[in-house]
C-alpha cells in the first residue's frame, strides 16, 4: 500500500472511531460490564493478593466446597462429599464428569497437585497465609483426596471454600506458572476470551459448565471487566451506561445513584467487623491514658454509633456488640454494651484524671472510610479527646500496629470470606504483634477455640474471650463492614455477603 493510501486509511479509521459512539454496556448485546478497582497483571489469586483478583478467580475456577451465602453451610462443589477425618485431616470425594475449559477431564490428581504446589514453603506467593495451613495432599483411591494440615485448623473448610481454587495439573505443568498467570484454564462458569494487562478483561460463558454446580449455570453470555481505580470515574461510567455494575461506593453515592432512573442500588453487610482498638497495656508508652479502663469506657460512650451508622454507613447495617459479626461462627451478642452518652463519657474521663480530655494519635486505613471516621473524631472531640488522625497506607499501618507505636486506631477484622470468629480473635487477641490487650484470660480462651474441633466447645471458648474483651473495652466494636453496589436496572443482582459476586448467578431481567 502506498503511503498516501495508508494515510487516507488511517484518517478514515480515525473518523469512523470518532463517529461511532462508545461501546454501550447492557442487555442488548448480552454483555455485562463490571468495573473493578485495581488493575491486575495476572489472573492467579495465589500470586496476587488483591481482593478484586479473588472476584475474578471466582468466575474462572471452582473450589472443592462452596459456602451458601443464605444458610452459611458448606456445600460440595468440585467435591461430591467431604468430612473431617481427624483434627488435621480433611477428606474430599471428587465429582466426575467435570471438564476443564480446554476439554480435558478434571480429576483428583488436579486437587493433589494444587495443594502440594501451594503447600511448598519455598513458593514465592505473597498470599502465604492462605496456604500455610496446608501440609500436603494425598490421593486415596481414584476419586478421594486427603488434605493434611500443618496444625489443627478448624477454619479449614472456610479456607477451602474461599481460597483453594483448583488448578489443572497437566496444563499447568506444560505451560508453567508465568504463562498460566496470563492465560489460566479453570473449570469455572466463565472462561477467558482475552486478557492483556492494561486492557479490559473479556470473559465468555462456559457452555460446558458442570450441571450439578451449587452456583447454577451462567446466564449472561459475555463479561467485560474493567479496572478503574478512581471511584468517581466508576460512578460516572455507570451513570452514562458504559458500565453495568460497580461496587465499593460510598453510602451517599449509593443514595444519589438510586435516584437515577436507569439504575438500581443494593447494599449488604459483610462478614467483616469494624472496630476501634485501644492500647490498653501501654505498648505505645506507659503514660497513655488508654491504660485506664474508665478512659476506654468513656470512648465507648462518646461515639454515637447509632447516628453514624444510620446516616453514613447504610440503612440496614447492624451495629456490632462484640468483637465479631453475627455471621461468624462463635460470635455472641451477650456481652457488656455502652450506650451513647457524652455526659457520662466526660464524667468517666474526669474520674480517670482527665477532666480536660487528652490528645492522641489515631491511625486508620482506607480512603473510603474517611467520612465516617471524621464523624467519630468529631464525637470524640465533643468529650475532649482530640485525636490527630493518620490516614496511612497498609504497610505503614501494619508497622504501627506491630511495633505497638499506635495508641488507638480503626480496623476491619475478619473478612476474606472467612465466617469464623477465629479470624478475628486468632489474629488480634492471640498475644501476638497485633494484640493490644495481651490478656492471659483472653489468650487462653482464643487458643482453645482455635485448636478444638468440637463446635460447642469452640463456641464456649470464644464467648468467654468476647465477654472479657467487652468488659475491658479492649476494642470498641462499631458495626458490620458494609458493601454498596449500584447497577443497571436490567440486571438481576443480589449483593453477596462475602464481597465476592458470582457472575454466574446474575441474569438480565
Amino acid at each position: 500500500m502506498s503511503r498516501v493510501h495508508r494515510l487516507i486509511a488511517t484518517a478514515l479509521l480515525g473518523f469512523a472511531a470518532l463517529a461511532s459512539a462508545p461501546a454501550e454496556a447492557g442487555k442488548a448485546d448480552d454483555t455485562l460490564v463490571y468495573s473493578l478497582r485495581e488493575p491486575i497483571d495476572n489472573l492467579s489469586s495465589y500470586f496476587n493478593s488483591l481482593s478484586d483478583n479473588l472476584i475474578i478467580s471466582r468466575q474462572l475456577f471452582d473450589n472443592l466446597l462452596y459456602r451458601d451465602p443464605k444458610t452459611g453451610d458448606f456445600v460440595p462443589q468440585l467435591a461430591k462429599s467431604w468430612r473431617w477425618v481427624n483434627d488435621t485431616t480433611l477428606e474430599f470425594v471428587i465429582r466426575d464428569g467435570i471438564k476443564w475449559h480446554d476439554g480435558s477431564p478434571f480429576s483428583a490428581d488436579d486437587v493433589v497437585f494444587t495443594v502440594n504446589y501451594l503447600a511448598n514453603p519455598e513458593l514465592k506467593i505473597e498470599t502465604r497465609a492462605r496456604a500455610s495451613w496446608m501440609k500436603s495432599a494425598e490421593k486415596i483411591g481414584n476419586d478421594t483426596v486427603h488434605i493434611h494440615m500443618t496444625r489443627a485448623f478448624p477454619a479449614a473448610p472456610q479456607f477451602v471454600a474461599t481460597f483453594l481454587v483448583i488448578y489443572p495439573k497437566a496444563h499447568f505443568e506444560k505451560v508453567g506458572i508465568d504463562a498460566f498467570k496470563r492465560a489460566p484454564i479453570g473449570t469455572g462458569p466463565y472462561k477467558i476470551k482475552s486478557f492483556e494487562p492494561g486492557k479490559p478483561l473479556l470473559l465468555e460463558r462456559n457452555r460446558g459448565y458442570f450441571k450439578d454446580s451449587p452456583i447454577g449455570q451462567p446466564s449472561i453470555a459475555n463479561v467485560r471487566i474493567m479496572f478503574i481505580p478512581e471511584v468517581q470515574s466508576r460512578v460516572a461510567q455507570l451513570m452514562v451506561g458504559q458500565v453495568d455494575l460497580i461496587g465499593d461506593i460510598l453510602t451517599d453515592q449509593m443514595r444519589d445513584l438510586g435516584k437515577v432512573p436507569h439504575l438500581a442500588v443494593a447494599s449488604t453487610e459483610t462478614e467483616q467487623v469494624e472496630y476501634l482498638f485501644l492500647d490498653a497495656i501501654g505498648r505505645s508508652g506507659e503514660t497513655t491514658p488508654l491504660k485506664h479502663l474508665k478512659v476506654r469506657q468513656a470512648i465507648a460512650h462518646a461515639i454515637n454509633r447509632e447516628a453514624i451508622a444510620r446516616n453514613l454507613i447504610g440503612p440496614n447495617i447492624p451495629l456490632a456488640k462484640a468483637a465479631c459479626t453475627h455471621m461468624m461462627f462463635g460470635c455472641t451478642d451477650k456481652v457488656a454494651t455502652y450506650a451513647y452518652d457524652p455526659g457520662k463519657a466526660k464524667q468517666l474521663l474526669a474520674d480517670a484524671g482527665y477532666p480536660n480530655g487528652f490528645e492522641a494519635p489515631f491511625v486508620y486505613l482506607g480512603e473510603r472510610r474517611k467520612v465516617y471516621m471524621e464523624a467519630i473524631f468529631s464525637d470524640l472531640r465533643q468529650v475532649g479527646i482530640r485525636v490527630s488522625p493518620q490516614l496511612v497506607t497498609f504497610p505503614a499501618y501494619v508497622k504501627q500496629v506491630y511495633d505497638g507505636t499506635a495508641q488507638m486506631g480503626h480496623g476491619v477484622a475478619g473478612g476474606a470470606a472467612v465466617f469464623d470468629a477465629s479470624v478475628v480473635l486468632g489474629a488480634f487477641f492471640d498475644g501476638g504483634g497485633r494484640d493490644f490487650a495481651r490478656d492471659p484470660l483472653v489468650i487462653a480462651a482464643v487458643k482453645e477455640g482455635g485448636e478444638v474441633v468440637d463446635p460447642e466447645r469452640r463456641k464456649a471458648a470464644y464467648a468467654k474471650a468476647l465477654t472479657r474483651i467487652a468488659e475491658q473495652v479492649y476494642w470498641v466494636p462499631l458495626w458490620s463492614n458494609s458493601m454498596n453496589y449500584a447497577f443497571n436496572k436490567d440486571l438481576a443482582f443480589e449483593p453477596p455477603v462475602d464481597n465476592l459476586p458470582v457472575i454466574a448467578k446474575m441474569k438480565w431481567r
Binding site: 447516628a307 480512603e367 467520612v371 471524621e374 464523624a375 493518620q390 490516614l391
Partner: protein, 286 residues
C-alpha cells in the same frame, strides 16, 4: 528603552494584575488571620441531621449556611475560611524552608565557585532528576500524612528554583565593586554573603518565593486529593476537594467551591509574583 519595555508583559495589565492579585492575597490573609470572627460557625462542628445542605443559590439553600454544609453537616463557609489558614501556612512554611535551603546552597555555590559550585550543581542535578511527585507520594505514604510531614517533604524537595536563581545572582553580585571592597577590608565570606550579597537578592528571592508558595498550595492539594496530604478533620482546601469529589456528580457545588478557592489563591499569588518580577527584577523574566 523599547527593548526593556517589550520584555515585560503589557504595562497596564502588569499593574492591574499586581494590584488585583495583591488584593486577593491580602483578603485571604485577613480572612485566615481573623477566621474566628469571619466564620459563622465552628468549622469542626458536625450535625448529621443537616448534611449536604446546598449553598444559598441552589433551590434548597438557606442563609444559615451560605455555602452549604459538607457530608458531616459542617458549615462549608466556615471550613473554607479556616482552610485559608492551612493553605497559607503551608505555602509560607514550604516557601521559607525551601527558600532557606536553596538560598544557602545557591549563595555558597555562587560566591565561592570552584568545587563548592560543582558539588552544588551535582546535588541540584540529582534533585532535578528525582521525580518529585513520586518521591513525595512515597515518603508521605510511608510516614503518614501530617501537616509537618507535608511541609518538610515539600520544603526539602522544592529548593531547586531558589538555588538556581540565587546562584547566578550571587555570581553576578560577587564580582561587583562593593563585594570586592568588603572583601578587601577583610570581611569573612560568610559575612559578605549575608550582609552584602543577600540584601541585594531580595527582589528575585521574593519573586521565587511567590512561585514556590503557589506551587506548594497546588502540590498539597494534589496530595490531599490522593488522600496523603493534611489529615482530617483539618479544613484544608485540598482535603475539601478530596471529600467533595465523592459527590461531584450529584452535588457539584461541593467541588467547585474549594477548587475555585485554590485556583483563585494560586492565581492571585502568581499575579503578585509576575507583578513583583516586573517591578523588582525584570531580568528574571523567563
Amino acid at each position: 528603552m523599547t527593548a526593556l519595555a517589550e520584555r515585560r508583559w503589557p504595562g497596564a495589565f502588569r499593574h492591574t494584575s499586581l494590584v488585583a492579585g495583591g488584593a486577593v492575597v491580602l483578603l485571604v490573609a485577613l480572612m485566615a488571620l481573623f477566621a474566628p470572627l469571619v466564620a459563622p460557625h465552628d468549622p469542626f462542628l458536625q450535625n448529621l441531621d443537616h448534611r449536604l445542605v446546598p449553598p444559598v443559590w441552589e433551590a434548597e439553600g438557606r442563609w444559615a449556611h451560605p455555602l452549604g454544609t459538607d457530608a458531616l453537616g459542617r458549615d462549608y463557609l466556615s471550613r473554607l475560611v479556616y482552610g485559608a489558614r492551612i493553605s497559607l501556612f503551608i505555602a509560607l512554611s514550604v516557601g521559607l524552608l525551601s527558600g532557606l535551603i536553596g538560598t544557602a546552597l545557591g549563595l555558597a555555590a555562587g560566591y565561592y565557585g570552584g568545587w563548592i559550585d560543582t558539588a552544588m550543581l551535582f546535588i541540584l542535578t540529582n534533585r532535578l532528576a528525582m521525580p518529585g511527585v513520586l518521591i513525595t507520594l512515597a515518603v508521605v505514604a510511608i510516614v503518614g500524612g501530617s501537616l509537618t510531614v507535608v511541609i518538610l517533604v515539600l520544603g526539602f524537595l522544592n529548593w531547586d528554583r531558589f538555588a538556581v536563581v540565587v546562584r547566578s545572582a550571587a555570581q553576578r553580585e560577587a564580582s561587583r565593586d562593593y563585594v570586592l571592597a568588603a572583601s578587601a577590608h577583610g570581611a569573612s565570606g560568610f559575612r559578605i554573603m549575608l550582609a552584602e550579597i543577600l540584601p541585594n537578592l531580595m527582589g528575585p528571592l521574593l519573586v521565587v518565593l511567590t512561585v514556590e508558595m503557589a506551587h506548594a498550595i497546588l502540590i498539597e492539594a494534589a496530595l490531599s486529593f490522593l488522600g496523603l496530604g493534611v489529615p482530617p478533620p483539618n479544613p484544608s482546601w485540598g482535603l475539601m476537594v478530596n471529600e467533595a469529589k465523592d459527590h461531584i456528580f450529584f452535588h457539584p457545588w461541593m467541588i467547585f467551591i474549594p477548587g475555585i478557592a485554590i485556583f483563585g489563591l494560586v492565581l492571585a499569588i502568581n499575579l503578585v509574583g509576575d507583578g513583583l518580577r516586573d517591578v523588582l527584577a525584570p531580568e528574571w523574566r523567563p
